[in-house]
Each structure stands twice: as C-alpha cells, then as structure tokens.
C-alpha cells in the first residue's frame, strides 16, 4: 500500500488503545486513511471495528467507562484535545448507523435538522439544501411530492437513504457508516452501495461491514480486525486475493468468523 504524505491523510489513528472499563477493545492500532477513498472495516463481531469507527467522531464519549490512549487525527488536528468542540467535529463528520434511525418527524424536518440546530433560519437556503441532499442520496424522486410525510412511513431502505441525506445536509467531508445495509433487503442494499460509489467523489467514507462481498465491491482499502488488533490493512484487491496474514485469509474464505 502506498505511503501517504501528511497532506493526504484525512483520518489517522496513532498508537490507539481503547478500553471499556477494564476491558481493552482496541490494541495499539495505527492507521491512516486517504481522502476520497472508501475504507472498509471487517472482522468478527466484537473485534472492535465499530468502536474504532466511533472514535473518529467521538461517539464513544457516551459509553460508560470509555477511555483511550493515543491520538486520533482528523484533517491534521487531534480531535480529543480539550479545546475541540465535539459539536463542530460532528458537523464535519457525518454518521450513518446500523439501523435506520430517522427522527419521528417529517422527511423535510429530518434533513433540515442539522441546519436548524446550527441556527440557520434562511428558508430558501434550507429548502435548497434539503432538495440537494435528497438528490445526493438518490431519494428525491421517491419523496419529492410528500416531503411533509412522516419519515417513519418510509420503507427501511428509504429510511436509510434519508439518514444519509440528513448527514449530507451538513456538507461533511467524511462519512462514517456503521453497517449501513445490514438491516436492509438486497435491493435496498445495492442502492446504498451504488450511492456509496457515487459519494466517493466528494467524501471520505469509512464503512463497517459484516458482508465480505460488500467490502470487496465497494471499498478501495480494507482493514481486518480481530480481537482488538488491526491484523491487516491494505488495498482491498490485495486483501481479498493475496492477504499476507493467514488469519485474514481464514476469515475471508469463511473458515472462521
């Protein structure tokens, strides 16, 4: 894998150890992620990949007993420094969760929420942003006539694309996705995957997935985690055809997991 210059590093973890209480969930992880790429995190349940993903927007701060050593660098800045405001950080780093979690409000309000909490009142700007975001998440055609409808009346796949639109409305540069398609049917899944491919042009995407084929299809680079260790991190092609570690090979071919 090519060495990244400091300028190319969008996200970076340096000597990262994460603990929940006494339990260590990430062990000395070092990783740099290049801008405008899709990086997939794979590994068996409980290997720490979701925890790792959430260190980048500090969503672990709410987990009881969370403690970390080492640094997380986003755009050249250590995001765990005291002076960093998490609210600002999260505007820059959108997140999509495993289960679609739209707010129990209208479609429009869901997408406009990010602007609203920033205190933006300009109606025209909000309307434009909502439309643009829904276009980007390939949902516009399906919902343009009933933006006032409750988001909960949408199908699971539509809800997930709404959650993506909601994240995009803040114009982040990074998108974290925690198994975004695991609760969806195959057709919705393929829509989400197409979408990720499109979004790569503008965003740096990190995606946790349990689906090996999915990682193979959509990602440029893949990181394999096992029991809190980053076992192997390389170009997806390489990981899937010729991994260096035997453990990676075994996981990918389905011999354990």
């Amino acid at each position: 894998m090519e060495k990244l210059s400091i300028k190319d590093k969008k996200l970076e973890a340096i000597d990262l150890n994460v603990y929940y209480g006494d339990k260590q969930v990430l062990k000395n992880v070092n990783m740099a992620i290049k801008a405008n790429t899709v990086t997939a995190f794979i590994g068996p349940s409980g290997c720490g990949k979701s925890t790792f993903l959430r260190t980048f927007n500090r969503m672990n701060d709410y987990v009881e007993g969370f403690r970390k050593e080492g640094d997380i660098i986003v755009d050249g800045k250590d995001i765990y420094q005291k002076m960093v405001r998490v609210e600002e950080l999260r505007k820059k780093i959108g997140m999509v969760f495993q289960k679609p979690n739209p707010f129990p409000k209208s479609i429009f309000e869901n997408v406009a929420y990010g602007l609203k909490i920033q205190g933006i009142k300009n109606k025209k700007l909000i309307e434009e942003t909502v439309e643009k975001s829904l276009h980007q998440s390939a949902l516009w055609e399906e919902v343009k006539d009933d933006l006032k409808k409750s988001a909960l009346s949408l199908s699971g796949g539509q809800q997930q694309r709404l959650c993506i639109a909601r994240a995009l409305a803040l114009e982040p540069s990074i998108l974290l996705m925690d198994e975004p398609a695991s609760a969806l049917d195959p057709i919705s899944t393929s829509k989400i995957e197409d979408l990720i491919y499109e979004l790569k042009q503008k965003y740096t995407i990190v995606i946790v997935t349990h689906n090996m084929q999915q990682a193979g299809r959509i990602s440029d680079n893949t990181a394999f985690f096992y029991m809190g260790d980053l076992v192997e991190y390389d170009e997806t092609k390489k990981i899937f055809t010729n991994p260096e570690k035997e453990r990676t090979q075994n996981y990918i071919t389905g011999r354990f997991g």
């Binding site: 927007n57 969503m59 709410y62 009881e64 998490v86 609210e87 600002e88 950080l89 999260r90 505007k91 959108g94 997140m95 969760f97 289960k99 979690n101 739209p102 707010f103 129990p104 409000k105 929420y113 990010g114 609203k116 909490i117 920033q118 909960l152 959650c163 909601r166 994240a167 803040l170």
Partner: protein, 285 residues
Amino acid sequence: MTNSEKNRIKDKAFQWFGITCTIIGLLVLAIFIGDIIAEGFARIDWKFLTSYPSKKPEKAGLYSAMMGTLWMLGLTAIIAIPLGIGAGIYFEEYAKKSRMANILEINLANLAGVPSIIYGLLGLEIFVRSMGMGTSLLAGACTLSLLILPIIIVSTREALRAVPNSIRQASYGMGANTWQTIWHQILPASMGGILTGIILSLSRAIGETAPLIVTGALAYVAFVPETPMDQYTVMPMQIFNWISRPQHGFQVNAAAGIIILLCITFLLNGIAVFLRNRWQKKVKW
C-alpha cells in the same frame, strides 16, 4: 388423566380465578358509585354548585370548595410541573452514574411512598411556619407539589427512557448538543408520556385531604380566594366536613360533593388516556 388434560384444567381454572378477581374489584366500585349516586345525584343543581356553605344543608353549596380546588390545582401545576420535568430530564439525560445520583434516586423512590400526612407536617413546618406563608393557598400548593413531585419525576423519566437511544445518537451524531437533542427530539417524542404522568399526579392532588388539613385548609369558607395568599378550602375538605355532621341533609350534600369530585377525577384521567393514545399513534418506532 393425562398430563396435557391436567394442564388444560389448570389453565382454565386460573382463567376463572382471574375473572373472579376482576369482577370482585369492579363490583365493589360499582356498588360504591351506585350508592353515592342514589343518595346525592338529585341534590346536584346549579344552585348547589354556586352557593357558599351554610348552616342549613338545603342551602349549602360547593362553590367556595370548588373554587379553592381550582386554585389549588392551578398553583400546584405551576409549581410542580416545571420542577418535576426538570428533575426528570436531569436524572435521565444529564446525571452520570455516581454515588450522589444513586442516593438521590433511592430517596426519590422513597419519597413516592411517604404517607401524605407526613408531607402535611413537612409543609406545616417549612412553608406555613419557617417561610411564613401562613395557612394560605400557596402553602397548601407547595405541600401538594412536594407530594406529587416524585410521581411526575418518575413518569417523566419513564417517558424519556421510552425514547430509543438511536434517536439520541442520531441527534448527537449530527452535532447537536445535549440540550438541542432534548428540546428538538426527546421532549416532543416523549410528550405523551410526560403529560399522562402530570395529569394523573394532578388528579391525585385534588383528592388529597390530609396534608391540607395539617397546613390549615379551613372547614367553613364563605368566600372565594382572590390571591395565592388567601385562605381557602377544597372539595375533599368540604366533603369531610359535611360527612362528619349528624343531619341527613349534610350526608346528601357530601354524596353530591363526592359525585362532582369523582367526575373531575374521571375527566382528568380520561384526558390522560386520550393524550396517551393520541401521541402513541403519532410516534411509532
């Protein structure tokens, strides 16, 4: 007899046991209400509702007691609702798990079980005497607020807890702070539960007599309170006063008063059920 037959009989038996228990409870309530209606219903007319108490039972009315109850309800609501919701939000959304929070929580659970007369004594010492409110509406309302605070706090917490964590995560994930998350997402989604708790606690408050006897509600009031510092009586006090008199006429008045008190309570509970159903339909996870 085979095992499955035995089980079937057991199942049936328990079903009948359950039905019997239900019927006994309902029957007692029905007899009670029927008896009260038979005695007092004919006594209820406009004059009964708009007259002050009197020495003559047929002239006596519920006006000052009803007005007192309205005042009491309003003041108690103004005091208890913001305090209760605020404390509930603090416990559920802000408080980190600590020994202090634990102690507060245990105390809260205990408070909900304290007999109401004890609250009365507390109110007498703190509000009536120390704070110098005297035997006013305000002192009574403060006491009743203490009494229903635990109920409001607990029901607020339950309503907040019913909002799935995924909503909080979604909101935090978009850069909202805790207050924005609470205000824009958690409160609207839990409003049904919170309102239900508030109404049920208020309907408990209007039936309370003991704490108000202690904090100085009057038994005979021939005026309507005009400020929170005025003296007062409330409906249960008036009913209690009538019922303790020997003349049959006053017994009838008491029954009529009970019917009206019950009507108000049922009305409040009805509103609570209506709100709950309405909000539940609106918010489905």
